[in-house]
């Protein structure tokens, strides 16, 4: 078993980050995620927590030979469950791979919380557990190390992809605000002119 851990600060508010999180895909850096489906979504009537279960469909970029040897297919599935507490402003997401679990199990937990030192930014923390299955017992350590490296690289790419998404939304917000400002000024001018 191998562990991966990382933290990152997004320079956007928790509200913005969590709103963008629902629209994270598609993004250029993560073309392997080809579909995102919402399996279930409800609000806990007692706690007000928003619970979502999603299915991510991914095109695997593992070498064809590896897939053939391990009996995997080019398409893989990931189940993601999330709990979003608007009161504590915490979003926790857990993912597990549904494909090739007997070969390799990757369990990931990420949380998004308001940064304790800077409420205008968001603290992201990520933890993953990589376990090679019995099918690979002889090579499990090697495979786990290989996957840990891949996971680390992919995590960085995933974060970069999300940053791009966040910047796009920020630009759209600023653009909308500028338009609104222009309209308001124009309206004020025309009102003044008609007086």
């Amino acid at each position: 078993m191998k562990f991966f851990q990382a933290t990152h600060t997004f320079d956007h508010s928790w509200a913005q980050v969590t709103a963008a999180n629902w629209m994270k895909y598609p993004n250029e850096q993560c073309p392997h995620v080809v579909a995102v489906d919402i399996l279930d979504r409800h609000i806990d009537p007692e706690t007000g927590v928003l619970r979502t279960e999603r299915l991510l469909t991914c095109n695997q970029n593992a070498p064809a030979l590896v897939l053939k040897l391990l009996g995997g297919s080019a398409v893989s599935y990931v189940r993601e469950t999330s709990e979003l507490d608007p009161r504590t402003q915490t979003l926790t997401m857990k993912t597990q791979n549904l494909s090739m679990c007997n070969v390799l199990q990757i369990n990931e937990t990420v949380t998004y919380t308001v940064h304790p030192q800077d409420p205008s930014s968001t603290l992201f923390s990520q933890e993953a557990q990589i376990v090679a299955g019995s099918a690979l017992s002889r090579f499990s350590s090697y495979v786990e190390d290989f996957c840990l490296t891949r996971f680390r690289d992919n995590a960085a790419v995933g974060r970069a992809g999300f940053e791009t998404v966040l910047e796009k939304f920020k630009a759209a917000r600023l653009e909308a605000a500028a338009q609104l400002d222009k309209l308001e000024k124009a309206a004020a001018t025309s009102t003044a002119a008609s007086l």
């Binding site: 979504r41 608007p86 857990k94």
Partner: protein
């Protein structure tokens, strides 16, 4: 906006996503948790469930849910029946 696993579900899925995204920012984060997109969600889910069955992913998901229940009743403070009684959004 992301596609659905079922090609024929993508259109309704994206309509639902648009609705949900506005609901999330304009209502939910402002303290109003009343549902707004239920009709779209049920239509989309209908289509999705058929696709999952066709692709034989329903059993894969059922197994995953058995192994990792959500919500996890041991760590969750809410009752286990919340999925049925909870407000659908």
């Amino acid at each position: 906006m992301s596609s659905s696993i079922g090609e024929k579900c993508t259109k309704i899925k994206q309509e639902y996503d648009s609705c949900f995204n506005s609901w999330y920012s304009e209502r939910f984060l402002k303290g109003d948790a009343s549902p707004m997109c239920d009709d779209l969600f049920f239509k989309y889910k209908d289509c999705l469930l058929k696709t999952l069955e066709e692709k034989k992913l329903d059993t894969l998901l059922a197994d995953a849910r058995k192994e990792n229940p959500f919500p996890n009743t041991s760590t969750s403070s809410s009752s286990s029946s919340s999925t049925e009684s909870g407000k659908k959004e």
